[in-house]
């Protein structure tokens, strides 16, 4: 193996290995993830209720605008439930005389990737960034809010706790849990999604409320405070 000792080949190999891993991840995503996850954007502005009714997984085509890379890599290795009632809650609920409950048997565990594949997949997903401009226009500067004020605002005043948990067993279950949102999501994404969820997803189950910049910031700062609290 004379070539491997040659500096030219060594350099080329060093350049190509990550690229090859990423091309591999792109292919793997098409093969193993696209059956459930959208990797391509829908037609702009289309509302399609049937898509939401039959959606199997959250869209990933803007993953690079949404997630923190460190979180993504570690979650792909060890996925834990984010949406207590799944991606389309009515499909995972059942009626009982006491009211509807989540039917756990319909919520299978997510596929886990080995360390090297998780890293390459995270690199690939972080490149999917169709909404850089939207995030660049967000005027959110992370700040501080006391847990007590933040909690009251999140629940009593804004009603976010109707659908979201802000602690492992507190809050509604139809939306993704938000007690680890700050660790999972980019701050500008959080602010942008709270301000207008329909811009990210015309078929979202989250109502768009009319919130000004300061109100959005208070809510985002509360998610930050929750993380700093270590819960």
């Amino acid at each position: 193996m004379k070539s491997s000792a040659n500096p030219f080949w060594t350099l080329l190999a060093a350049l190509c290995v990550p690229l090859a891993a990423q091309a591999g991840a792109a292919e793997q995503a098409r093969e193993q993830c696209a059956a459930c996850h959208a990797l391509d954007a829908p037609e702009p502005g289309t509302r399609n209720i049937d898509e939401r009714l039959t959606r199997k997984a959250p869209p990933l085509y803007y993953a690079g605008n949404k997630f923190r890379r460190e979180w993504l890599e570690s979650w792909l290795r060890q996925p834990a439930r984010i949406r207590p009632a799944g991606v389309f809650p009515p499909a995972h609920a059942k009626s009982t005389p006491q009211g509807d409950v989540i039917d756990e048997s319909t919520l299978p565990a997510h596929v886990a990737l080995p360390a090297d594949e998780a890293a390459a997949m995270a690199d690939f997903l972080m490149q999917l960034r169709p909404f850089d401009d939207r995030l660049a226009a967000v005027r959110y500067q992370p700040g501080t809010i006391s847990l007590r004020m933040g909690q009251m605002n999140f629940s009593k005043f804004k009603g976010c706790d109707g659908c979201h948990r802000d602690a492992p067993d507190v809050g509604g279950v139809s939306g993704p849990e938000l007690h680890s949102a700050w660790k999972r999501l980019q701050p500008q994404f959080i602010a942008s999604f709270i301000a207008d969820p329909t811009a990210w997803d015309p078929n979202t189950l989250m109502p768009r409320m009319e919130l000004n910049d300061a109100e959005v910031a208070r809510l985002a700062d509360y998610l930050k405070a929750l993380q700093e609290d270590g819960s």
Partner: protein, 116 residues
């Protein structure tokens, strides 16, 4: 005279066919957006209900629902609970749903509350 009667019958048939189509679309919209709180059966007991400090309206309660006009319901859905002196836990859906969607939901609520 005969003609007018026929036209009238046709018009009524069409109107009820449209109302029915509205209710069908309304049923789908209700499943997607409303059952998370109001329940798969519309009885106010959705998966979120146990976590809410104010209980969602039971849409199968004939007496309560009959006490509201279509306009009342339209406003509650479009503008949210706060706009009709009710809880903020009932969201405003005006940015997510079109007026046509909201009308379809009202038509479906009328079926839920009062079909027997």
């Amino acid at each position: 005279m005969r003609r007018t009667a026929l036209t009238l019958v046709l018009a009524l048939a069409c109107a009820s066919a449209f109302a029915d189509e509205g209710a069908r679309n309304g049923e789908k919209l209700y499943r997607v957006y409303c059952t998370q709180c109001h329940g798969l059966q519309g009885n106010g007991k959705g998966i979120n209900a146990a976590h809410l400090s104010v209980q969602p309206r039971d849409h199968t309660d004939t007496a309560e629902m009959s006490a509201r006009t279509d306009d009342d319901l339209f406003k509650a859905i479009k503008e949210g609970g706060k706009a009709v002196n009710k809880s903020v836990l009932m969201p405003s859906w005006k940015a997510n749903l079109s007026d046509e969607d909201v009308r379809a939901l009202v038509a479906y609520l009328r079926e839920l509350c009062c079909r027997k």
